[in-house]
């Protein structure tokens, strides 16, 4: 029961730019393998005359992450794509706790009065009948 958080990967590059060589090689060689290995990710390849080659990743919670792939080899682009495929759409900021539970205490949360005898059963100088 695992749902991948990556929705789509859009690869925008221009066929004539010099720094999109790695992107073109990736599209020729490794894009099919990548798509077969991750069958639940949609891969859009659109050649456009934009300023720089981009790899845009959209996640299920709506966040869009854009990464430049200018002057990168196709293996680096494959590694980047696998890394993006493994991420979820949460912001990459400092996380305060490395764990998260919905039910933190099962046997009851400790408070200073647990494991102490109650005042009614303790024999004191005042409670003894005289």
């Amino acid at each position: 029961r695992y749902v991948r958080q990556l929705q789509r990967l859009q690869l925008l590059f221009s066929p004539t730019a010099a720094d999109a060589r790695g992107a073109r090689q990736f599209v020729e060689e490794a894009a099919l393998d990548f798509a077969r290995r991750h069958p639940d990710v949609v891969l859009y390849i659109s050649p456009c005359s934009g300023p720089a080659p981009l790899l845009r990743a959209e996640y299920l919670n709506g966040t869009v992450r854009e990464e430049l792939i200018a002057s990168k080899t196709s293996e680096e682009i494959v590694q980047l794509a696998t890394k993006l495929a493994g991420q979820s759409g949460l912001d990459i900021i400092r996380i305060r706790k490395p764990f998260h539970t919905d039910n933190p205490s099962i046997q009851g949360q400790w408070h200073p009065l647990t494991n102490k005898p109650s005042a009614l059963t303790v024999q004191g100088p005042r409670l003894q009948p005289q």
Partner: protein
């Protein structure tokens, strides 16, 4: 011999029960707990698991994050061994130091493999014209604990 303030130790003297009676009592308690487990009368279970050089207190359906890379892909089901403690509402099973694998079963799934936020590593000495700056990004994995199961095979 006369009794002074130092003849007996200041703590109250505790008499240990008979070893035979104690063994009987222990066997009774173990049988009771076994019956309870077999009948399924426990509610939520929590466990203390040693994983990635840290000890975590986990229940079912909770998230855990490690600062390392696991060799499993996203979506793989993993069984966590090295369980130190298992507890429910009425009873707890304490291991010395580990519990047996045929007693407890903890399953988790790898949800996410991301990188941490970019941490800044900077060194600076004043009046010595020395400063270095390095940005460190290390990989992280997020696991979700699916189930914790116990089986009635105590002894």
């Amino acid at each position: 011999v006369a009794k002074t303030s130092l003849t007996s130790p200041p703590w109250p003297e505790v008499k240990l029960p008979d070893p035979v009676e104690e063994a009987k009592f222990h066997a009774e308690v173990v049988q009771k707990v076994n019956k309870m487990i077999a009948a399924g009368q426990y509610g939520r279970l929590f466990a203390v698991v040693h994983f990635a050089s840290k000890q975590w207190k986990i229940t079912s359906e909770d998230l855990i994050m490690m600062d390392n890379v696991l060799e499993a892909e996203c979506g793989d089901r993993i069984r966590l061994e090295k369980v130190l403690l298992v507890g429910a509402d009425d009873f707890t099973l304490i291991g010395r130091p580990l519990l047996g694998k045929d007693l407890v079963r903890v399953e988790a799934t790898v949800i996410e493999k991301t990188e941490s936020w970019p941490k800044i590593n900077m060194r600076f000495w004043k009046r010595h014209k020395y400063q270095k700056k390095k940005i460190i990004v290390h990989p992280q994995t997020v696991l979700r604990i699916n189930t914790i199961d116990i089986f009635p095979c105590l002894s």
